[in-house]
């Protein structure tokens, strides 16, 4: 994912381009119009229909859907899952990016590829692997059963699957950023007598903070929104192991469309806030 480089300002190409090296005015506007239609069709329509369907039968039904005990418990579980997984993957992301970018060692390329692995795996497989290990017929299943420990169809399974899926987000954001910054400032600090943590807190962290926040916000969006992997391990027990995305599915399959879209609108809000913060952070980090 190439988020990082996207918002770098253009090298004022517009001004120094000879007039012959751009399109005629009408061509430009036709292309902009076509792009607008594509955007409207692919992106804005899904956004609009969520809101339209959520409010189809009025605010009363909308509020009722959101204040339903099952919806609230799904919201709590979603927040809890994110509150556990995002900090863990953030700590890992910072440590791994520090190790990968500030030192040279053999096998670095392999390590970077392995870190990326969860992006290449289907979310359903991300859930399946934990069922194979901890499920009733899985590797540790009988032992867990006899000790009365529940992982699959319970919170630990949801956490594990979410950890797996959101694993690369923070570290992937930090590696290119810290690679570009090099090690000069840190080395100067060490030469001047700074200790390990001082170097990190006072030199490295201020340099990477916006990129780090950017990674965290993306990690959080995925942690709260993950569907496939969580769906495999959750067991869909209402009021217990149902996250918000799973609640959307349950309501939808029960033909409670407006309620389903009302819950969806909450997740849409999460996505829009994520986009807003993401843009803000990436603008900060390029300046």
């Amino acid at each position: 994912m190439a988020h990082g480089a996207v918002l770098t300002p253009l090298k004022s190409q517009k001004s120094n381009a000879a007039p012959a090296a751009t399109e005629q005015r009408w061509v430009r506007w036709v292309l902009i119009g076509l792009a607008g239609l594509v955007l409207l069709w692919l992106i804005i329509l899904p956004l609009a229909i969520v809101l339209s369907e959520a409010l189809k039968k009025g605010w009363g039904v909308y509020i009722a859907a959101l204040s339903d005990p099952d919806a609230l418990s799904a919201l709590r579980l979603t927040l809890l899952t994110a509150a556990i997984t995002v900090p863990l993957n953030t700590i890992f992301g910072v440590v791994a990016a520090w190790t990968i970018t500030k030192f040279r060692f053999k096998g670095k390329g392999l390590l970077v590829t392995l870190v990326d692995l969860p992006f290449a795996v289907s979310p359903v497989i991300g859930g399946l692997i934990f069922v194979l290990i901890f499920g009733r017929q899985g590797w540790l299943g009988p032992w867990l059963d006899s000790h009365d420990i529940k992982i699959i169809f319970a919170l630990p399974g949801i956490i594990l699957a979410t950890l797996f899926i959101t694993f690369p987000f923070v570290v992937k954001e930090l590696i290119p950023l810290m690679e570009d910054q090099g090690t000069g400032e840190e080395e100067a600090a060490v030469t001047l007598g700074a200790k390990g943590w001082q170097v990190f807190w006072q030199v490295t962290l201020p340099n990477i903070k916006w990129g780090l926040l950017y990674g965290i916000i993306l990690c959080n969006a995925r942690a709260m929104g993950e569907f496939g992997a969580v769906s495999v391990v959750s067991g869909h027990i209402r009021g217990e192991t149902n996250t918000l995305p799973l609640h959307v599915e349950i309501l939808y399959n029960e033909y409670q469309f407006q309620a389903s879209f009302a819950v969806s609108s909450l997740l849409l809000l999460l996505a829009l806030v994520t986009l807003l913060l993401k843009n803000w952070f990436s603008r900060k980090s390029t300046h």
């Binding site: 480089a5 517009k14 902009i32 607008g36 791994a96 594990l160 570009d180 959307v248 969806s264």
Partner: protein, 280 residues
């Protein structure tokens, strides 16, 4: 894909934390990713070669791969065309609201896939906004391979735009101006001067969207209708085998899917190396 090229001449052993950092990185990576993934290979489910082969050659399984690969490829292709248009307009032209357009491109990254799934189904089902226009024309969008393709297009479009955009931004305009000076029309300049520079990034964008599409589950299950042999995707088949407690069968389907994903990951890495080289 910002510049990852590595300039290293001086020694780096003055900085602290390598031992513990490396230790923690490898430990956490193993615990969260590698050990769980190895569950597929270590075969706790008693999957034999015969069972693997009988699952892999089952017509229903083969059909699900055909559906997954076919729709993901078509969606990736369409995304490549539309993504190029979007990237071009966002990089080359100025117009009001451009910042918001640019930000909205990432919506599919940020929107939970289940929400995308129910939203797209509502749009393309018989009485939906677009479905009701297509219905009289005899086109069935939801609950058909077309619906799956549409869902995967939504999921894949940011991959193409975000891969092509930086390359287009960094591309030198000199060659275009030279072509114009030498009398080439704009159309010809595009195909002979600009397009060749974009090829690696277009291929990378396609491959990223394609790879994502093959494994995608949430946005597809609602709109696909999940009819065996017709609109059943491979990840859904894993799911239904799990629901029947056929762990070995699920593992077999997953292993093939994983193999396809890894081959694609390898290809994407090579493509990215190529496009980085081409960009220099």
């Amino acid at each position: 894909m910002s510049s990852l090229h590595i300039r290293r001449k001086k020694q780096r052993n003055v900085l602290p934390g390598f031992g513990i950092g490396m230790g923690f990185t490898v430990f956490y990576l193993s615990l969260v990713v590698l050990l769980p993934l190895s569950a597929l290979l270590l075969n706790y489910t008693g999957l034999t070669w015969e069972k693997f082969w009988s699952v892999a050659s089952d017509p229903r399984v083969l059909a699900s791969y055909r559906v997954s690969l076919g729709t993901a490829a078509l969606a990736g292709l369409l995304d490549t065309v539309l993504g190029l248009l979007l990237a071009w307009v966002l990089v080359r032209y100025d117009f009001p609201g451009k910042g918001i357009w640019d930000a909205l491109i990432d919506l599919p990254f940020a929107l939970p896939t289940a929400v995308a799934g129910v939203a797209l189904t509502a749009i393309y089902s018989q009485n939906g906004w677009i479905g009701s226009i297509l219905e009289p024309l005899g086109i069935k969008a939801a609950f058909s391979p077309l619906g799956i393709t549409l869902a995967l297009m939504f999921i894949g479009i940011p991959f193409v735009v975000r891969t092509v955009q930086p390359v287009l931004q960094d591309a030198e305009r000199d060659a275009e101006e030279a072509a114009a000076t030498l009398g080439a029309g704009r159309w010809r300049t595009f195909w002979t001067v600009i397009f060749p520079v974009l090829i690696p990034s277009l291929l990378t964008g396609f491959a990223l969207a394609f790879a994502r599409g093959i494994g995608e589950y949430g946005s597809v299950v609602f709109i696909s209708g999940n009819m065996p042999m017709k609109t059943e995707i491979a990840p859904l088949l894993i799911m239904s085998k799990l629901e029947q407690f056929d762990y070995a069968g699920a593992t077999a389907v997953a292993l093939i899917l994983l193999l396809i994903s890894f081959v694609l990951l390898l290809g994407i890495n090579l493509l990215q190396r190529w496009s980085r080289k081409a960009a220099r």
